[in-house]
C-alpha cells in the first residue's frame, strides 16, 4: 500500500471522524428516542393555551351545555377507564387547520393519560385530509367541509362525525390606520362578497362607510387574503356567501377551493395564505388586509374581528355563545347515518351566520387501511370516544364550542359502529 504523509493522515482521520460522529449521532438519537418516547411527553406542560377574551363572558352558558354532556359522559367513563393500550401505537392523522389547535391539544393530553398512544396530527388543509384518508395513507382525517357524495363514493366505507364546531371570523388589520383590533367593524354578506369579488377595493368605499358610520375608515387599498390550499374554512365561508348572495353563487360557488375573482380583477389585490395560520399571518403582516379564519387564529394574533349580519338582520360577533346558538337552531336532529350538518346562515336572533361543524374522517371498518392494526384501531376508537366526551372541556379555552348533547349522542351511535373486520372496537 502506498504510504501517505502523516499530515495527510491526520487530515483524513479528522474527516473520517466527522462522518463517524454523524452516523453515531444518528444511531444515538434513534436509540435515545426509542428509550424515551414514553417519558419525553410527560415533560409537556398541560396548560399551554393562550388567554381568550370571549371565553370569560360565556362561562355560564358553557357550563350548562357541558353539564348536559357530562351525564352521557358519566355512563361511559367506567368502560373508558377500564381500557388500557397493550402496545405502543403511533397514529398518523392529517387534515383541516381549522380544528388543529384543539385536536393537537387533545393528542397531547391523551398522550399524558395513555403514554403509549401517540397521535400525530398534521394540518394540511381539509382538502388534504380528504385526499389522504381516501388514499389510506393516514389513519384518520379531518375536514370542515362535509364530504360530497362523490367523495364518499370514492372512498367506500369512509364515514365522518363532527368533533367540534366553531365560527369563521372576518378578520382585518387596520391598526396602522388608527383602528385597533378591539374595534368591531360591521359587514354584510353583500359587502364581503363585493370585497372578495374585487368590486369594493378601498376601505372607505361607501358601502363600508354606510355600515360603519363611526369608524375612521381610511382611504386605503384592501388587501384581500384567501386560502391558497383546499380548505373547509373556505367551504364554510363560500357556502355562507352562496346561500345569501345569488351573484356569488353563480359566479364563484362554494367549495374547498374556489377561483377568487379578486385575484384577477384589475386594481384589486388578492393574496393566498396556506392554512388558517397562513391567512392569519398574511393579515397580520399587511396593513389594510382582510381575511377569513377560524376564530381562535384571529384572537391569538390580536387581529380585529368583524360583526356579520345574520339572517335575522342583527350584527353578530363570532363567539362560543353565538356559534352555539347557530348550532342549536340549525342542527335539527342529527342522524347517525349521515352526520353532515349545515349550520351556515342559521336562524335565530343571536346566531352567528358563518358557523361550521368540523369532522373527523375514518373508515367504519378500520381494517380498510392496511396500516391500521387492531391495537391501533382500538386506540383510535377510544381516543374518539374520549374526544367527544372528556375532550370537550378543552374546547372553550381555545374558542371552540363544545358539542351539543344531541350531537354527542349521535356521535356515540356512530362510534359504536366502528369495527375491525367486524369486531366492534367500543367499548
Amino acid at each position: 500500500m502506498i504510504r501517505m504523509s502523516s499530515k495527510n493522515n491526520k487530515r483524513n482521520i479528522g474527516i473520517v471522524a466527522l462522518v463517524v460522529v454523524i452516523i453515531a449521532a444518528v444511531a444515538g438519537g434513534y436509540y435515545f428516542s426509542t428509550m424515551s418516547s414514553s417519558s419525553t411527553t410527560s415533560m409537556m406542560p398541560v396548560t399551554s393555551t393562550m388567554p381568550s377574551e370571549t371565553s370569560v363572558m360565556t362561562e355560564s352558558s358553557i357550563m350548562t351545555s357541558a353539564s348536559m354532556s357530562e351525564t352521557s359522559m358519566a355512563s361511559m367513563t367506567s368502560s373508558q377507564s377500564s381500557w388500557q393500550p397493550t402496545v405502543a401505537v403511533q397514529v398518523l392523522a392529517a387534515g383541516a387547520t381549522f380544528p388543529q389547535p384543539l385536536i393537537q391539544k387533545w393528542t397531547v393530553t391523551y398522550n399524558q393519560i395513555y403514554p403509549q398512544v401517540t397521535i400525530s396530527y398534521s394540518g394540511i388543509g381539509s382538502g388534504g385530509g380528504i385526499q389522504q384518508i381516501t388514499a389510506k395513507t393516514v389513519d384518520f382525517g379531518a375536514s370542515d367541509a362535509p364530504l360530497s357524495n362523490a367523495q364518499l363514493a370514492a372512498a367506500p366505507g369512509l364515514t365522518l362525525f363532527p368533533e367540534t364546531l366553531g365560527g369563521v371570523a372576518i378578520t382585518y388589520n387596520l391598526a396602522a390606520f388608527g383602528i385597533p383590533s378591539s374595534t368591531v367593524l360591521n359587514f354584510t354578506s353583500s359587502v364581503i362578497a363585493g370585497i372578495y369579488m374585487g368590486t369594493i377595493q378601498k376601505w372607505n368605499d361607501p358601502a363600508l362607510v354606510a355600515l360603519n358610520p363611526g369608524a375612521p375608515l381610511p382611504d386605503a387599498h384592501i388587501t384581500v387574503v384567501h386560502r391558497s390550499d383546499g380548505s373547509g374554512t373556505t367551504f364554510a365561508f363560500t357556502n355562507f356567501l352562496s346561500v345569501t348572495n345569488p351573484n356569488w353563487a353563480s359566479q364563484v360557488g362554494f367549495s374547498t377551493s374556489v377561483t377568487w375573482p379578486v385575484d384577477t380583477v384589475a386594481g384589486a389585490t388578492g393574496v393566498g395564505g396556506k392554512g388558517n395560520p397562513g391567512v392569519a399571518g398574511a393579515v397580520k403582516n399587511t396593513n389594510g388586509a382582510i381575511g377569513y379564519v377560524d376564530l381562535i387564529y384571529a384572537i391569538q394574533n390580536n387581529l380585529g374581528v368583524g360583526a356579520v349580519q345574520n339572517a335575522a338582520g342583527n350584527w353578530i360577533v363570532p363567539s362560543i355563545q353565538t356559534v352555539l346558538w347557530a348550532a342549536q337552531n340549525a342542527t335539527g336532529t342529527p342522524n347517525p347515518a349521515d352526520l353532515r350538518l349545515h349550520i351556515v346562515n342559521a336562524q335565530g336572533p343571536q346566531s352567528y351566520p358563518i358557523a361550521t361543524y368540523t369532522y373527523l374522517l375514518v373508515y367504519r371498518d378500520m381494517s380498510a387501511n392496511p396500516n391500521t392494526d387492531l391495537a391501533k384501531a382500538q386506540a383510535i376508537a377510544h381516543f374518539f370516544w374520549w374526544a367527544i366526551h372528556d375532550g370537550q372541556q378543552y374546547a372553550p379555552a381555545l374558542d371552540y364550542v363544545p358539542l351539543p348533547a344531541n350531537v354527542v349522542a349521535a356521535d356515540e351511535q356512530l362510534l359504536m359502529t366502528l369495527n375491525y373486520q367486524g369486531t366492534p372496537l367500543l367499548p
Binding site: 388543509g125 387599498h221 383546499g230 364563484v252 360557488g253 393566498g272 403582516n285 388586509a289
Partner: protein, 324 residues
C-alpha cells in the same frame, strides 16, 4: 512452470468470479433506474390531465379546481409558468452581472492570498439550505422590501406597469431577488472555471499589446469563454426554475398573470408544494399537478443538458484551439 502458474491462476479466477465487477455494474445501473422511474411516475401520473386538457394546458390561464356548478376542473399551466419565467428572468438580470464580476474578481483581480478564501466564501452561499433562505426571506427580506425598496421603486419608476400596484413585499420581485442570491454561487463557480481555463497565451498577447486588465477581459478572455459563460447562465437558469422552498415562502401563492412585480403570484414548484397533499380525490386535479411536475422536469432537463453540452463543446474546442 509458466504454464502451471497460468493454469492455477485461471482456476482461481474460475472459482472466484469477479464480484466487484458485478457490484459496480449493478450500482451504476441505479442511476438510469432512478431517472426512468421518475420519468415513468410523472408520465403515468399526468395521463388523465393530458387526456383532459391536451395541448391547451400549456396555454390556458384558468385555474379552477372546483368549478361552481360542480363540473370537471378547468386547469391551465400558464400562471405558474409565467411566474416561473418572470422570477427566473429577474434572478438572471441581477445574478448574471454579479456572477461574472465575482468570477473575474476571483480569477484575475484577487490578490493571491485572498483568492481561495473568496472562492470559499461564495461557495458558502450555496451551502445555506433553501428553507433557511426562505425563512430569512419571509421574516427579514419581505418586510425590508416592502418598507424600503418597493416604495422607492413605486416613487421613482411607478409609471412602469411592472412597478405598479400595491406592495406588501410578497410577490415576484422579492422571489426574484432571493433566487438571484441563491444562483450567484453556481453561476460564479462555472464562470470562474471557464475564465480560468482560457489559455495564458491569449491574455499575455493582449497585455503585450498594451491592454489594461479590463481590455484583456473584454477582448481576449470573455469572447473566448463566451460559450462557457452562456453555459453558466443556462445552468443557473435551470437551478432557478427548479427552486422550491425559498420561492414558495415569499411569492404569495396566487394563480395570476400580471405585469406588476409586486403582486403575489406563483411558480410551478410553489404550486406543487402548496397543493399536492390536498388534491381531494380529484383525479384530474392530481394529474394536472403531475403534468406541471412533468413540464418542470422537462424544462430543467433541457436546461441542464444544454448547459453541460455547451461546456463539453467548450472543452473540446478549447483543447483543439490550444493544440493549434
Amino acid at each position: 512452470m509458466q504454464a502451471q502458474v497460468e493454469k492455477v491462476r485461471a482456476q482461481k479466477r474460475a472459482r472466484h468470479p469477479d464480484f466487484l465487477h458485478a457490484i459496480l455494474v449493478v450500482t451504476a445501473f441505479a442511476l438510469p433506474v432512478i431517472a426512468t422511474l421518475s420519468l415513468y411516475a410523472l408520465l403515468n401520473g399526468s395521463v388523465d390531465s393530458i387526456q383532459a386538457f391536451g395541448f391547451g394546458f400549456l396555454t390556458s390561464s384558468k385555474w379552477i379546481p372546483n368549478p361552481p356548478n360542480g363540473g370537471p376542473p378547468i386547469l391551465g399551466a400558464l400562471p405558474a409558468m409565467y411566474g416561473s419565467v418572470v422570477t427566473t428572468l429577474i434572478a438572471l438580470l441581477i445574478a448574471v452581472p454579479i456572477s461574472l464580476g465575482i468570477a473575474l474578481f476571483q480569477s484575475e483581480l484577487a490578490p493571491g492570498k485572498l483568492r481561495l478564501p473568496s472562492i470559499f466564501l461564495v461557495e458558502l452561499l450555496a451551502a445555506v439550505p433553501s428553507v433557511v433562505y426562505g425563512l430569512w426571506g419571509i421574516l427579514f427580506l419581505v418586510p425590508f422590501m416592502s418598507s424600503n425598496v418597493d416604495p422607492w421603486l413605486v416613487g421613482s419608476l411607478g409609471f412602469l406597469p411592472i412597478f405598479s400596484g400595491e406592495t406588501n413585499g410578497l410577490g415576484m420581485l422579492t422571489a426574484g431577488v432571493i433566487l438571484a442570491i441563491m444562483i450567484i454561487p453556481y453561476g460564479a463557480a462555472v464562470m470562474r472555471e471557464v475564465v480560468t481555463a482560457v489559455p495564458r497565451a491569449q491574455r499575455e498577447a493582449c497585455i503585450a499589446l498594451g491592454g489594461t486588465k479590463w481590455e484583456t477581459m473584454r477582448m481576449a478572455v470573455i469572447p473566448y469563454a463566451s460559450t462557457g459563460i452562456i453555459a453558466a447562465v443556462v445552468l443557473a437558469m435551470g437551478r432557478a426554475i427548479g427552486e422550491t422552498m425559498a420561492v414558495t415562502m415569499v411569492i404569495g401563492n396566487v394563480a395570476r398573470i400580471t405585469p406588476s412585480l409586486f403582486l403575489p403570484a406563483e411558480t410551478i414548484p410553489s404550486v406543487i408544494a402548496n397543493e399536492f397533499t390536498e388534491v381531494a380525490g380529484n383525479g384530474i386535479y392530481l394529474a394536472a399537478l403531475f403534468e406541471l411536475a412533468l413540464i418542470l422536469f422537462a424544462i430543467v432537463f433541457v436546461m441542464n443538458l444544454l448547459g453541460r453540452l455547451l461546456i463539453t463543446r467548450l472543452a473540446f474546442h478549447g483543447k483543439a484551439a490550444h493544440d493549434v
